[in-house]
Amino acid sequence: MRPNLRRHNHSAWLEPGHPSVYLGFNLHANNRTYSGWLRVGLTFDGAGNPLAFSLLAKDGAPDIYGAWSTGAISLGEVGSAAAVPEPAQVATGLGLLALGAVGVREFRRRRRQDAA
C-alpha cells in the first residue's frame, strides 16, 4: 500500500535556526482517511548544510503499532531526505515483522549493518 498524500499544511520551512516543523496531513488509503501530523526535523552542519532528516509522529516514543496501521509513514525513523520510504524501510519492531518476508529480510539487513 502506498498512501496517497492528497492534502497537507505545514508550520514553516526547515532552515538553520528553525530545524523542525510540523506537517498536518490526511492520508487516503484503502478507502479510509487517516489524519495526523508529523514533526519533521533536519540536522545541519556548521555551514548550514542539512546532514540528516527525521520524522516523528509525536514527541517521545513512536507508536509501536503504528508503522503500518497509519499508512506506512515513518515513525521515529531516521533516513534519507531524498527518499520516499517504502514500508520495509521505515517500519520497526512488530511493524517490520508484520510486513512478512520483506520485513524479515530488512530486519536482518539492519542487524547485520548494526553489527558491522
Partner: protein, 825 residues
Amino acid sequence: MSEKKRKVLLVGWDSADWKVIHPLLDAGKLPHLEQLVNGGVIGNLATLYPVLSPMLWTSIGTGKRPYKHGIHGFAEPDPHTGGVRPITNLSRKTKAVWNILSQAGKKCVVVWWPSHPAEPLPDGVMVSNHFQRAANPDPAQPWPLPAGAVYPARLAKTLAEGRVHPHELVAEMILPFVPKAAEIDQKKDRRLEGLAKTIADCSTIQAVATQLIRSEPWDFMAVYFDAIDHFGHGFMKYHPPRQPWVPEKDFELYSGVIEAGYRYHDMMLGVLMAMAGPDTTVLLMSDHGFHPDNLRPSSIPLEPAGPAVEHRHYGIFALKGPGVKKDERVTGATVLDITPTLLALFDLPVGRDMDGKPLVNVFAETPKLETIPSWDEVPGTDGSHPSGAKLDAADAKEALKQLEALGYISPLPEDAAKAVGETQAELDYNLACSLTDTNRHAQAAEIFARLWAARPDEHRYGGKLLSCQLALGAFELARETLDRLRANRRKYGAEAAAELKRRKEELTDKKPEDLAPAQQEELRRLAAKARPATAAMRHMEATLLFAEGKAAEAVEVLQSLEKSGGTDPGFLVQLGQGFLALKRWDEAEKSFKRALELDPDNAHVSGLPRSGTSLMMQMLAAGGLPPLHDGHRPADTDNPRGYFEFASAKNIRADASWLPQAQGRAVKLVAQLLPFLPGGPAPAAAPRPADECQPYDYRIVWMERSLDEVLASQRAMLDRHGHAGAALAPEKLRAVYEQQLARVAENLERRKLAVLRIAHRDAIRDPAGSAARVAKFLGLPLNTAAMIAAVDPTLHRQKKGRPAGSVGHVAVEVSPAGAGSSRRH
C-alpha cells in the same frame, strides 16, 4: 456468481473472539479488521464438539463432521514406526476444499493445519504446519526443514530463509506484549520464552504467506494462524479485569499480551489484505472463541485436551469482497459452512455429503446453487496424497513435544505400545464426543462403554456414558452407571490417596520447586484422582433424578450444591428448570435471570411453543378425532380457537398413567417430551424387559414450522403479554431448538415410531392436501372437508421464514392407537 475470475483469501485465526475484538475495534486499535467489518458481512461462527482445533480446522476445510473426515485429535498412531506421531493429514478420509478447487482448475496456495505432509496440489503450493517449528532452541544450530513441509520442493529454500527463530526477536518486538519484560527472572519464569516462540511462529507464517502471495499465481489462498489460541491458553487468565485468583504481579506483567496479540494480527492482516488487492474476497474466521470474561475457568481439568474448557462456543466470521453484502450481519453460521460457502463463491457445486451449507445470505445477489452427491466420487487430479504415504517419525516426535508443552496432549509414556494404546483411546474418545454432538448417542455409548471397560479409573468415560444413556432415555442403565461411577471413584480414589501419601513421604525433604515437571504433574494427577469429587457426583445424581421425573428430589440435591455451583450458568439453568417443574415460579425466574446475567449467549431454553400444533389439533377435532384436553387454557388472541392443552401430558416424564385416557384420541405434546412416551423398540444401549415393550401404538403428527416464524411468533406473543422473554440472540435460540429437535428426531427414528411431518405453511396453503395426508397416515375416515374448513389462513401472521426445506419443526399429535383406536400389545 457474477465474477468470472474471483480470488479468495481465507485467513484463519484460531480462537479469535468478537468479545475481545469489539472493545479493540471501538478503541480504533484494529483498523484493518475494521475495514473488513465495515465493508462486508460479519457474524458468529458456531463451533462443534469437542472443541479441539485439529478436528475443527479439518471440518472447516472439508465442510464435514469429524466422523466423516477422520481427524479425531492431536496425535495418532504411526503405522510405519509403531509409535505415535502428531496428527497428519494422512488420516483425512475426504477431499478438502483445496483439493476440490485444484480439481476444478483453480490455483491454490495453502498454509493450513493439520497439513503435514504438504499435499502435491496441481499448480499449487502447500506449506505444512511443521514448517515453522524451531526444533533447536539455539539459533546458531542448523534448522533443517522437515521433509514434506513444502510443496513444491523448489520453494523450500526460499521459504525456509524467511523463518523467524524465537531468539532473533529483539526487545521492541516483545515489549508491546510485556512492557515490563525486563523485570522478569527468565530462569524461574518461562512464560516469556513461550511467548517469544509464539510470536516467532506466527511471524514465520506471515513471512511465508507474503512471499507466496507475491511470487505465486493463485485463485485461492488459505493462511492459518494459531498464535491467538496460544496467547489465549498462556495469557487470557491475565487479561483485564483481574480475576481474584490471579496474582497481582502476574497481572501487572502479562495483562497486555492478549491485546497486543490481536493488534499484531491486525497489522499482519492489513499487510495481507493490501497485498491481495481490493478485488480479492477476504474471509477471516476462527474455529471457536475464547472466554475473555467472568466465564474464564479458574482451573484446567487434568485430562488430555483439558485446556479446551477455555474455548467459547462462537468463533468469528467476516467476509468482504465483490458480490458480498456490505455492513451486514449473518446469523446461524457454523464452521461447517465455510467450505460450502467457498465453493459457492467459486460457482462450484456443493457436495450433498457435506454437513454445512453455503451462507447464501452473505451474497448481494442470491447465487445459483448446485449440488452433487459427493466430490469424493468425482475423479481427477486433486493433489491428495497417494495411499501409503509415509511420515518421518523423528520429525513427528519434535512436533509432539510442542503439543505436550501446550497441554493439548499428555506426556507420552516411554513404552510405545502403551503410548499407542492411550493415543488411540483418546482418538476414540474424541470421536464418541463428536458423535454425541450429532445426537448419535447409541454409537457414542458403545465407544464410551468399551473405553471405560478397559480403563475403569478414567471417570470421564463413565460420565460421558451416563450422559448418553440419559439422552437415550435409558434411565435404569444410567442409574447403574452412576452407581458404578461412585464405586470406581471410591476404589481408585483410595488407591490414589495411598499412592500420593507414599510419594509424599519419599519426597518429604524436597520443596515443590525441586521436583521435575513430570514429578509435579504426576503428584497433581494423583491428588485429583484422590479427591472424592462429591459435588460432581451429586450433580450427576441431580441430573438423573430430574430425568427420572423426580424434580423435587433433584432440586433438593441441586440446592445443596448452590454454594459451589452458584456461578455456573449451566448449573443455574438446571436449577431453574427444577423450580419450573415444581411450579416455584419466582425461584425459577431468579435462577434463569442469574444464568443469563452470567452468560447471556449460552443460556438454555426449553420447549417449542408457537409451532402450529394447535392448528393441527383444530383440524383433527373438526375431522372427527376427539382431542384429549382439559380446557384449562382458554382461547385468546394468540390462539383464538383454543390451545387444546392437557396439563397431565406436560408431566409425562414423571407420570404417564393418563395415557389410557388418550386411547383413540389426539393429544398435544411439545416435541421435547416425545422421548418420554413409553414403549417402542428398545435402543441398543437400553434394553427393556420384554413385558414393557410397545405398550401402545402411536401415530405422531409432527408439525414443522420455520424456526424464524416460530421465534417471531413467540416474540409477538411475549410482546402482547408484556413479557421480556429470553435475553438470547435469535441465532442462539435457533441453535438450541435445532439441537433439541434433532435429538428428539433421533429418538423417534431409533424407536421406529410412526411419524408424519406436516409443514405448518403447507397446512395453511394447502389444507386439502394436508388433511388428506393426515387422514391416510392415521388410517381414519376423517371428515377432511371439516378439517379444511378449520384452517383460517388469517392466523398465519408471522410470515418471515426461511425458504421451504428449512428446519422448523415441532410439536406433536399423539394417537395411542392404530387405525383410530388404542391397541394394547
